[in-house]
Subunit: 207 residues, 2 copies
DNA sequence: AAAAACATGGGACGACGTTCCATACACACT
DNA sequence: AGTGTGTATGGAACGTCGTCCCATGTTTTT
C-alpha cells in the first residue's frame, strides 16, 4: 500500500485524537489499544506511529486538551458575589466538569508514564495554571497573609478537591457516587473556608 | 513435571503474596507480571492459577492486607489530648503509612477491576472501617450534630486526605513531594477543623 | 504392587505496543 | 503523456502480556 493522501497530516492527527478521546470517553483507558484506534479511523496501527511518538504521547496530548478546557471553563466562571461565593462556584465548576465525562477525566489518574519517563514540563505548567483562579478568588479572604501562604491554601483546597473527584470518578470506590461526591466537595469548601476565616479573620466585607 | 509438594498450599499462597508484594513495592504495578512472580518463587506461571483465580484477585488480597494494616495502625493511635490533637495524630498516622511504601500504597489507586467486574463487598467494608476512628475522634467536636452529619464530615475529611495522598504517591504530579504533601495535609486538617468549630461551636473543653 | 489423585511445567493462544519494510500511490519534471 | 522520485501506508513480525490446558510424574490411597 502506498500514499493515499485522503487526509492531510493535520486532519489525520485530529482524526486520531478524536477517535482516541471517544474510546476513552466510552470504554475508559482499558478499552484503548493502537489497533482499536486504527480500526475506527480506517488506518493501520503503523500509521499512528507516523503521527505520534507512541501511545503515551498521544494520551498526553489528550490530557493537555482536557486540562486546557477546564482552565478555560474556570476562567469563564462568574466572578460576582462574595469571595466565598466565588470559590464555591469555582469548585462547583471544577466538579461538574469532571463529572461530564468521568472516564475521560479518569485518564488523568489512570495514565502513568512508562518506566523511566517523566511528565513533560508543560504538563506541570498546565496543572499549575488551574490554581490561578482559586488563588485569585482567595485573595480577598486572606488579605493579611503573604502570597506564599495564600498559594499554600489554594493548593491545599485544590488538591483536596482534585483528590475527591478522583475517588468519585474511579470505579473502585463506586459507592462514592457523583451525588455524594458533590456533597462531600461542598462540605469541604464550606468548612475549609470557614476555617480560613477563623484562622485569619477577614477584614473586608463578606456575605 | 508432577507434584512436588515442597510447599503446602498455604505456604505457596504466602510465597506468592509475598513475592507479589515485594515486586509492587519495588517496581510498582507496571513491573508486575505473572511470569515475574513465578520466576521469583521458582514456579511456573501456571501454578499461580491453581492458587488464585487470576492476577486481579491476587492483587485484591494484597490490597486487603494493606487496608487491614492501616486500620490496625489507626486503631492503635494514641487517643490522648484534645479532639483536634487526636484527629491530627490520626491523619498524621494515615499519611505516614502511605509514605512508607508509596508504590505499594499506589496499588490502591492504580489497580482497576477488569471490564465487567466490580470490587467485592468486603473491600468496601474495609474501606468503611477506616472511617471509624476518624468518626469517633470527631464526635466531641460535633456534639450537637446528628450522627449522619458527623459521618458526613468524617467522610469529607477522609476523602480529602485520601485524595491528597493519592496525588502525592502518584508519580504523575511528582512536584507534590512527600514533604509538600505533608504540609498540605496538615493545613487541610487544621483549617477544616477550625471551620467545623466555627460552624458548630463545640461546647466541650478544648486545647 | 497397582491405581487413583493431583500439583506442576511448559507449551499454546490471542491481544498487546511497537518496529520495519516492500509497495503503491501522488506529485514534479520533461 | 511518460518517467522518475519521494513517501505514506498496510501488513507482517517481534517480544511481552494474561490465561488456559494437558501430559507428566510424584504422592497418596487401596
Amino acid at each position: 500500500m502506498g500514499r493515499r493522501s485522503i487526509h492531510t497530516p493535520e486532519e489525520l492527527r485530529e482524526l486520531i485524537i478524536d477517535a482516541t478521546t471517544t474510546i476513552v470517553e466510552q470504554e475508559g483507558l482499558e478499552g484503548l489499544s493502537a489497533r482499536e484506534i486504527a480500526k475506527r479511523i480506517g488506518y493501520s496501527p503503523g500509521t499512528l506511529y507516523n503521527v505520534f511518538e507512541n501511545l503515551d504521547d498521544l494520551l498526553l496530548i489528550i490530557e493537555a486538551r482536557l486540562l486546557d478546557e477546564l482552565a478555560l471553563r474556570l476562567e469563564g466562571t462568574d466572578t460576582s458575589g462574595s469571595p466565598s461565593e466565588r470559590l464555591r462556584r469555582l469548585v462547583g465548576t471544577y466538579f461538574a466538569f469532571t463529572q461530564e465525562r468521568p472516564k475521560l477525566w479518569n485518564l488523568l489518574n489512570e495514565h502513568r508514564m512508562p518506566a523511566g519517563r517523566t511528565v513533560p514540563e508543560w504538563y506541570q505548567a498546565k496543572l499549575d495554571k488551574l490554581l490561578a483562579p482559586l488563588d485569585e478568588a482567595m485573595t480577598p479572604l486572606l488579605l493579611d497573609s503573604d502570597p506564599s501562604t495564600r498559594r499554600q491554601h489554594a493548593r491545599t483546597l485544590w488538591a483536596s478537591v482534585h483528590g475527591m473527584t478522583s475517588i468519585s470518578t474511579a470505579d473502585k470506590l463506586s459507592h462514592v457516587t457523583a451525588h455524594i461526591g458533590r456533597s462531600l466537595v461542598d462540605d469541604l469548601v464550606q468548612t475549609y473556608l470557614a476555617g480560613l476565616e477563623k484562622r485569619t479573620p477577614a477584614r473586608s466585607a463578606h456575605s
